[in-house]
């Protein structure tokens, strides 16, 4: 390959090396940006979910069925059923024995599950002769289908077709629709399986642990170093077993062999010596003795294979379970244990070889496909075992004709099992003792960003309660894979993460061919080698998905050869080859759940992607996949990144980085951020927590949710009336479509103090702007009424609104009703109005009555709208549909258009939230020399402590954008590549259009008319209206409802409750000595109650209204009664105590 002339020129005149020039591109940089949209076009925004689910429907489900493809009757194996094929059909629903194809939107509106039948071809025996029969297309269950996956009707549709299906083309898919609600299976983070992790435990001991996972079993093997001796810890043993005993039990009887297996370095021998000594002191020299010793330590000695000894089977099946034992040959396990020991000792000798559990390369992400396949496998097996069970029962009962299996396959189990798991989020898999909650969550449709954010979210493996800081900290290995900004605040901070823009999560790849390939590339099989040879200096162990495959004498050559094969497409693009110099290992991984990202390959620092390639891409001749296929771009996972030197841009030699050592070049620096943080302009100029706050707030912003937002039936929907596209955009915004579904408005902001109603981040708003539609929003709420069926033809009914003979409504609150008894769309509906005039039969159980119900047999069970008094709300839509139980459900969507009011929450895109402090007339607002009046005024004190420089740049950038008529960009780290406008250029534009370079204008006071004594920083900033609105929160009560039991005021706004005077408030009053106030608050305003107390026995009596005397039922007289007041809760307590045989007595004294 020749060096392009441009580079020559660059080399000749070396610029002085500086810190800045690390990011400085070479003379003619290739505009690589176009790769990003190309990537997203091919893969979509939520490619990992869809890929994973596709893998399940195409391969995973097949593997599962194949692995369990034969079931047979227990007492007669010749009666069998064999699954010969399995496939997932198109989404459909069975209505009255008719199969109808369904679309996702239909399911959303009618509360159905968007699922497709799983069908199998079977071979089974019938009759006495057990003749094999074949049957095709047997239904074994319905599988909820992920939107936009292969099985989905939306797959590969263009915009017009999607529109016809009622879908929003910008909706990314990747979620399920179960019973009408959209559910996402969140990405689950896990520690990687089948890998050795060297760590220290809580007591500071060095441990090597492996979590093995095979199809049959999951086990955890831990080897600890305790007081210089090394032990094996396994749940199956009551006590730790000395590791030498284990080695002996596996047939490695000679100590020398063990030492050789670990390595010949005398330091290893020294560390191993105490363990060998311990073993010797136990007088264990042979395999027999070792096994015997271990047998005594087995947790449940009764069970298991008695013949060969319990411990041997544990060693074979549980101990590092993923390492196979072929024909009772434990050698592989011995080698594996040897490697574990060696790594432990390395760690002891050299502390920096410890593994980091938080290192992203040691993590695996479990996606919906894997989770569903776990569930499906479990359900499938259950279904089969149930069939076997039934068969056995049948054949026990009727010896005559054994029924055939095809009758016994019941599809309900899988259907309901899958549906239940996804709709509740509880993943219970008995085989692996897995009980996880909250795996799936309702997809938030609060804003477009919120739903995108859900799709990229990763839920943590640990409990959130742990106070540890380690897993919460930002890991350097997250670079480019996980978004550094997007994490929630509070308990899940740092644990819940989000994928970055370009991240891809791998799916499983077949292992067999890869293993063979490795062998043919010179990997030597270990079974032929002695311990001595294994650890020969210069040769590296080759680990394949955690298994030891063999060793290689020329590791670098091998790795290069493998990589070359990958680049040329001979092996899967997601196979990672990682040379670990420290551990003398080559790790080859093809397992699923690794995070990786695409990078441009560079040969000695020269990008393989050239301008000609980019031109082809722009012309549409080349797609992203072509770049992969031609070996211009490759995917690197976190581990392999360690072998690479990745430059941001092509550049010449630097003081510390030589150009020739660069192996890869980033596609775009902005891709280290995720989707949600990508909409922040100039995030790299902000203080980092501000970006994190914005990530949380961007999800609460009102705006447009989807193109089909007005046809959706969400239970709560907030829409902005005039949503705009941000004036200061980023490339990410364009990539994800936020410019089409914006959630905010460009407000002209003046940064100044005004009126004193702007302290503590409050903002002052211009009334005329609000009049003209700024911040106006629509809240739509869904109210569902079910028309119940009670059987026997008895059901609720919807009655006409009752009118008198003149046609005047009998009840005013029925004015919103149409003649059919359901609110009419477009009608204004107010608090306490009826929206469905439903009546229920008085007597539900009318068995045998038969006769038709008359009017008088019904009682009103009206659906009454509870709104805010004085607000005008409108019935938007009424939808009627029958649900899965054939019941009529009436959905009324009620719309409320609101204009901003004092107390509504607003925020810019820089984590600067504030409530509206006051609304001021336009004439009182300051105005500029050009007659521009700001829409809102923000207090400058918001800046110094927040350090949101990005917001300032957004302001001047927006202002420049307005004056020159071009959208300005503020992509993260985009200045060198031209994806963000530089402040200098912005300032020049401002000057050109007669503004001050710093964005400060000369303003006149609107109240007094004279100029303000400062130049005011003024310009447009994109403001978001957040969902928190005063109207939904304001609450006050004088007196109102009380709880039945205690007669105290109810709690909470929804029940019109009182405001609690709690302990701390009470303490204040006590300290202040306000005794009368305490008395009033705690008794008079709460639950005062008059009781009759017997002065003699101290118990409560009662007042006899007939005799007009009080009476003590204990003393059987009314002589010593006294009246007193106490809280009703107190009286209740006395009575409850009495019920428990405790006598509370009141001792009264004269007051």
């Amino acid at each position: 390959m020749t060096v392009p002339p441009a580079d020559d020129a660059a080399k000749k005149e070396l610029p002085p090396p500086s810190y800045r020039s690390l990011a400085a591109p070479v003379a003619t940089p290739v505009d690589k940006f176009a790769l990003l949209p190309a990537f997203l076009k091919v893969r979509g925004l939520v490619k990992e979910h869809i890929d994973s689910f596709n893998y399940f429907t195409t391969r995973g489900i097949r593997n599962i069925v194949e692995a369990n493809n034969r079931i047979e009757a227990r007492n007669d194996p010749s009666i069998y059923l064999r699954y010969t094929n399995v496939y997932v059909g198109t989404p459909s629903v069975q209505v009255d024995y008719k199969i109808e194809n369904i679309t996702p939107h239909f399911c959303r509106l009618t509360d159905r599950t968007y699922s497709a039948p799983i069908r199998v071809d079977i071979e089974y025996t019938v009759g006495k002769q057990h003749e094999p029969q074949h049957k095709k297309n047997v239904l074994i269950g319905y599988l909820p289908i992920m939107l936009r996956s292969y099985a989905c009707v939306l797959h590969g549709r263009d915009e017009a077709e999607l529109a016809r299906q009622g879908e929003c083309p910008l909706d990314p898919g990747g979620y399920f629709i179960v019973k009408g609600t959209e559910k996402v299976i969140l990405i689950q983070e896990q520690l990687s399986k089948n890998r050795i992790i060297i760590d220290t435990d809580s007591k500071g001991r060095v441990i090597a642990s492996v979590t093995s996972s095979t199809h049959e079993i999951k086990s955890k093997t831990v080897i600890t170093m305790d007081k210089e001796k090394i032990y094996l810890q396994l749940n199956q043993f009551t006590k730790p077993i000395p590791i030498i005993v284990v080695m002996k039990a596996m047939g490695m009887e000679s100590d020398q062999e063990v030492v050789q297996m670990v390595g010949r370095d005398p330091r290893y021998g020294d560390l191993l010596f105490p363990s060998i000594q311990e073993c010797a002191s136990e007088r264990i020299y042979t395999q027999q003795q070792a096994l015997q010793y271990m047998d005594e330590k087995v947790t449940y000695p009764g069970a298991g294979n008695q013949k060969e000894g319990r411990s041997k089977s544990i060693l074979r099946d549980v101990f590092i379970a993923h390492v196979p034992v072929k024909n009772g040959n434990f050698r592989q396990k011995c080698i594996y244990t040897g490697v574990m020991l060696r790594r432990m000792m390395d760690a002891i000798l050299n502390a920096d070889t410890f593994d980091d559990k938080d290192y992203v390369g040691n993590k695996r992400l479990e996606l919906s496909g894997q989770l569903i396949s776990l569930l499906f496998e479990d359900l499938f097996k259950t279904m089969n075992s149930q069939a076997v069970e039934l068969m056995n029962k049948n054949s026990d009962k009727t010896r005559s004709s054994p029924s055939d299996f095809s009758q016994l396959i019941k599809h309900e189990a899988i259907t309901s099992g899958l549906e239940r798991a996804i709709s509740t989020g509880n993943w219970d898999i008995k085989r692996f003792r897995m009980h996880r909650k909250g795996v799936s969550q309702v997809l938030s449709r609060l804003s477009y960003m919120a739903s995108l954010g859900y799709m990229t979210r990763i839920t943590p493996q640990f409990e959130k309660t742990r106070k540890t800081s380690g897993p919460r900290a930002l890991q350097p290995s997250q670079w480019g894979m996980l978004c550094p900004c997007d994490t929630p605040e509070g308990e899940a901070c740092g644990l819940t993460k989000n994928l970055a823009l370009l991240t891809h999560v791998t799916t499983d790849q077949e292992e067999g061919p890869l293993m063979n390939l490795c062998k043919s590339l010179g990997v030597e099989d270990l079974t032929l080698l002695s311990g001595e040879e294994i650890h020969a200096p210069g040769s590296f162990l080759v680990m394949f998905n955690g298994l030891i495959l063999g060793k290689h004498r020329q590791p670098q050559t091998f790795a290069n050869a493998m990589r070359e094969l990958r680049r040329s497409g001979k092996i899967g693009e997601f196979v990672s080859i990682f040379v670990n110099e420290k551990q003398h290992c080559i790790h080859i991984a093809s397992d699923g759940g690794r995070v990786c990202r695409p990078l441009i390959i560079a040969d000695k620092g020269i990008s393989r992607v050239k301008e000609c390639h980019m031109k082809e891409l722009r012309d549409g001749i080349r797609s992203f996949d072509d770049f992969l296929r031609d070996g211009l771009i490759e995917y690197l996972d976190v581990n392999e990144e360690n072998n690479a030197l990745i430059a941001l841009y092509e550049h010449v030699d630097q003081d510390d980085v030589e150009r020739s050592s660069i192996t890869h070049i980033e596609i775009e620096p902005l891709s280290i951020l995720g989707v949600v943080s990508g909409l922040i302009p100039y995030p790299h100029h902000n203080q980092s927590p501000r970006n994190t706050y914005q990530c949380a707030m961007g999800k609460q912003a009102m705006g447009n949710i989807a193109y089909n937002q007005l046809f959706r039936a969400d239970s709560l929907l907030y829409l902005l009336v005039y949503a705009q596209r941000p004036l200061l955009t980023t490339k990410t915004i364009e990539l994800v479509g936020y410019d089409k579904l914006g959630a905010g408005q460009n407000a002209t902001v003046a940064v100044m103090g005004y009126s004193g109603y702007d302290i503590e981040d409050a903002i002052v708003m211009n009334k005329s702007s609000l009049d003209r539609g700024f911040g106006r929003c629509i809240a739509m709420k869904k109210y569902t009424v079910m028309k119940e069926n009670y059987g026997d033809g008895v059901s609720d009914r919807i009655a006409k609104p009752q009118r008198d003979k003149d046609g005047v409504l009998l009840r005013q609150n029925m004015r919103a009703l149409d003649e059919d008894g359901i609110a009419a769309p477009g009608q204004i509906i107010r608090n306490h109005d009826v929206y469905v005039n439903k009546q229920s039969p008085k007597i539900v159980d009318r068995r045998g009555a038969g006769a038709l119900l008359k009017d008088m047999d019904y009682k009103d069970s009206l659906a009454i709208y509870k709104g805010v008094d004085g607000e005008t709300t409108v019935v938007d839509r009424v939808m009627l549909c029958s649900d899965t139980n054939e019941k009529l459900s009436i959905k009324c969507i009620i719309r409320h258009t609101r204009r901003p009011e004092v107390g509504d929450k607003f925020s810019s895109r820089h984590g600067q939230k504030g409530v509206c402090g006051t609304i001021v007339q336009q004439e009182d607002f300051p105005f500029s020399e050009r007659g521009i009046c700001p829409d809102l005024i923000m207090n400058p004190h918001g800046f110094p402590s927040r350090m949101t420089i990005g917001k300032m740049i957004e302001l001047i950038g927006g202002k420049a954008g307005l004056s020159c008529g071009r959208f300005h960009y503020g992509s993260a780290f985009g200045e060198p590549s031209g994806n963000a406008d530089k402040v200098e250029d912005i300032s020049n534009t401002l000057i050109k259009h007669g503004f001050s370079y710093n964005g400060k204008d000369f303003l006149y006071s609107g109240i007094l008319g004279h100029p303000l004594e400062a130049y005011i920083f003024m310009g447009p900033i994109y403001y978001q209206k957040l969902k928190h609105m005063v109207l939904d929160k304001m609450h006050a009560r004088a007196s109102g409802p009380r709880v039945l039991l205690t007669r105290q005021p109810t709690e909470g706004r929804s029940r019109d409750g009182g405001l609690r005077l709690g302990e701390m408030e009470r303490d204040c009053l006590i300290a202040y000595g306000a005794s009368m106030l305490i008395f009033e608050r705690l008794l008079l305003s709460s639950d005062p109650y008059q009781v009759q107390v017997c002065r003699k026995c101290g118990l409560l009596g009662y007042y006899n209204y007939k005799l007009k005397t009080s009476y003590c039922s204990m003393c059987k007289n009314g002589e010593n009664m006294a009246k007193m007041r106490l809280p009703y809760a107190c009286k209740l307590l006395f009575q409850e105590l009495q019920a428990m045989n405790v006598v509370p007595r009141l001792k009264l004294t004269e007051g």
Binding site: L710, V721, K767, S768, D771, R772, G773, R776, I778, D806, G807, V808, G826, T872, V874, D876, R895, T897, Q921, Q922, E923, F927, E929, R930, G931, C933, L990, I991, K992, H993, G994, F995, S996, Y997, D1001, F1002, Y1004, S1005, G1006, I1007, L1008, G1009, H1010, P1011, L1012, E1013, A1014, Y1015
Partner: protein, 371 residues
């Protein structure tokens, strides 16, 4: 011809004449100019107190004679819907009063009530109504009365418009423009759905005693016919009646007769020290609105002069950098460049006279209250 920028104060024609006793230059500057320094403007408020300079024998009071002598209005530009004029010789508070009245208190007609008969478009009823309300109407508000809550809508206080558009099934999407609002001079056509008095003449939502055509000289309508109200897809329709009433901008911005009205003080750019040669050229290039010009001094010498100070947008470029010291940006405190952008109901000059009338009324009210 603008005067050449020389050292010290430049004479501006409209500086009010002094008494015999003159103020010292620096005070005179403070009194009559706002100085816009690079960091912040100073002397923004001026001297309000009449006796501020009494000790120096200078009278700072406001008097009618002085006002009459100095006050001047100079119209620079006048079109159908906007105008620019200079208002010279008043205090900022008075100029501002006119601005405030123009924005908030000069009445216009605007759609206030919508009777929605049918709306199957994607736009919600409330939003559609809001949009209709903001459409500027071509109706002289002086010909109408205010309507109060108990008033019956009649031809003197209500204008009725009808909007009835539908998009045929199978046709293209259509855009509903404001021009499709149809004026109903006879009043509402919708009958009240109140069956209380059956047999009566159809009762509508207005009670016009005569057609508005008879009392108005020209037909009413909307000012701009191309404002998008809504878009209709095939099969959708809008049918509604809109009632416009008189109101003021204080209540809702839709009644504001101006898009905006504002003023700026007359810029004055003063070159304090001669700027010559390279520096002069630099300065000329710096100013984005070409305030400066080059004057040839002969024998190749060049000097910067202020050519069009009025154009200065106060970007402060000229006062930054090396020669910044030599330039002072000022604003003349009693010279206002006033701009009124009318929304169309009344021409801008009429709006201004209306504003003056309103201020007059207010003054009269104060006087009558006081006496």
């Amino acid at each position: 011809m603008p005067k050449k920028g020389t050292k010290s104060k430049k004479a501006v024609d409209d500086v009010p004449d002094q008494q015999e006793n003159k103020l010292p230059d620096y005070l005179e500057l403070q009194r009559t100019r706002v100085v816009c320094n690079a960091d912040a403007p100073i002397h923004t408020q001026g001297f309000q107190y009449s006796g501020a300079f009494a000790a120096m024998g200078v009278d700072n009071s406001v008097s009618v004679e002085k006002f009459c002598k100095n006050f001047k209005i100079d119209i620079k530009r006048l079109t159908e819907d906007d105008m620019e004029f200079d208002m010279i010789g008043v205090d900022a508070s008075i100029a501002n009063a006119f601005r405030r009245i123009l924005i908030a208190e000069v009445p216009t007609m605007a759609i206030e009530k919508i009777f929605m008969a049918d709306n199957t478009s994607v736009i919600a009823d409330e939003v559609l109504s809001h949009r209709l309300g903001l459409i500027p109407l071509d109706a002289d508000p002086r010909l109408f009365d205010y309507i109060s809550e108990n008033d019956v809508p009649n031809e003197r206080n209500t204008i009725v418009f009808k909007l009835h558009v539908s998009c045929e099934k199978g046709s293209q999407r259509i855009t509903v423009k404001s021009g499709e609002l149809e004026w109903l001079p006879e009043g509402s056509q919708l009958s009240m759905a109140s069956p209380a008095q059956s047999g009566d003449k159809q009762k509508t939502f207005t009670s016009f005693s005569q057609s508005q055509k008879e009392i108005l000289e020209k037909p009413l309508g909307v000012k701009f016919k191309d404002i998008t109200i809504a878009r209709l897809g095939p099969g959708q329709a809008i049918e509604l009646e809109a009632h416009a009433v008189k109101g003021v901008g204080k209540v809702h911005a839709k009644w504001s007769p101006v898009a905006t009205a504002w003023y700026r003080m007359l810029p004055e750019v003063v070159i304090l020290e001669q700027i010559e040669g390279e520096e002069a050229e630099e300065l000329v290039k710096k100013c984005p609105v070409n305030v400066f010009d080059i004057e040839d001094l002969g024998n190749g010498g060049k000097r910067a002069v202020v050519a069009k100070p009025r154009a200065c947008t106060l970007c402060r470029e000229c006062v930054m950098g090396p020669c910044g010291e030599k330039i002072q940006l000022r604003r003349v405190r009693d010279h206002f460049i006033y701009t009124i952008e009318s929304t169309g109901a009344l021409p801008p000059e009429v709006l201004f006279t209306e504003a003056v009338k309103i201020l007059e009324e207010k003054c009269e009210r104060v006087i009558s209250e006081l006496s």
